[in-house]
Amino acid sequence: MLGRLARGVPALRRALHTGSQPNSTTAALDLIRSQPSHYVVANFVGRKYILAPRDLLTVPRPRDVQVGDVLTLDEIHELGSREYTLRGNPTISPDRVRVQATVVEHTKGKMESIFKKKRRKGYQKTITHKQPYTRLRIGDIEIPISSS
């Protein structure tokens, strides 16, 4: 009987803690906007990253991107704060959330040596390779107030 009581109590505590569910995307975004810090799960060049403002994102260098360019992340899968999360289906539309990233530099990684050998055939070679990377600084996460 005590075990059954204990099982009932956490559900009640959870209901008191969260309050009523928001019934529209605007209400959900209002709840998220009211909290001080946010994060975003965004897709960039085919890979998903958890990003916050002021982060430095390092990706293999995409073409046609210059240093100083400001890119808008248009594939945002999730927007969250401390207690609330909004998950897109599959993405949140770009007029609901806006995140920009500034290209800070193009660098190369450390030199890597790849050694290839086929034994007893007299074939061996060493390939040296430096992967080019691009580093981007994530800007503020803007959740514009919509009139609808």
């Binding site: 390092t58 704060s81 990684g109 450390k110 981007l136 600084r137």
Partner: protein
């Protein structure tokens, strides 16, 4: 009781590019010899393309120096007080342009392994850190 603000919490953390972007390169120095043939391509580039390079990159101070009886060199000076030196010996004009782009795009930081460093963050996590003392007691 007013909460005390610790002096360390009022510091600003560097985040170039977050609100405003400042290009990291400040000076580009070309050093070449007037006579030696190893500096031929560098000299051709300087006479033909230097002006357009300077116009396209107004934030960079471009200097041409003499380096008598030595191989040609390209030096880039950055805001983090480091410099990168690239030899231009034996390069064609296209390759010289590639080296210039390499220095213009760089931030001057030392080359470090970037394969596993996807996101470098100084922001504290928005969802906070899990604490066993503040979570629901697990029920079997």
């Amino acid at each position: 009781m007013a909460s005390t603000i610790l002096r360390g919490s009022l510091r600003s953390r560097p985040a170039n590019g977050h609100a405003a972007f400042i290009p990291q390169i400040r000076k580009l120095v070309f050093e070449c010899c007037d006579r030696w043939p190893s500096s031929d391509n560098t000299r051709t580039f300087l006479f033909s393309n230097l002006r357009t390079l300077a116009e396209k990159n107004p934030h960079v101070e471009i200097v041409v120096r003499q380096r008598i009886h030595r191989e040609p060199i390209l030096r880039g000076f950055y805001i983090n007080n480091r410099d990168k030196v690239v030899p231009l010996n034996g390069l064609s004009i296209g390759e010289i342009k590639q080296k210039i782009t390499l220095l213009l795009d760089s931030s001057g930081a030392q080359i470090k392994p970037l394969k596993r460093r996807n996101v470098e963050s100084t922001t504290e996590s928005a969802r906070g850190i899990w604490s066993g003392l503040h979570a629901d007691r697990p029920v079997l």
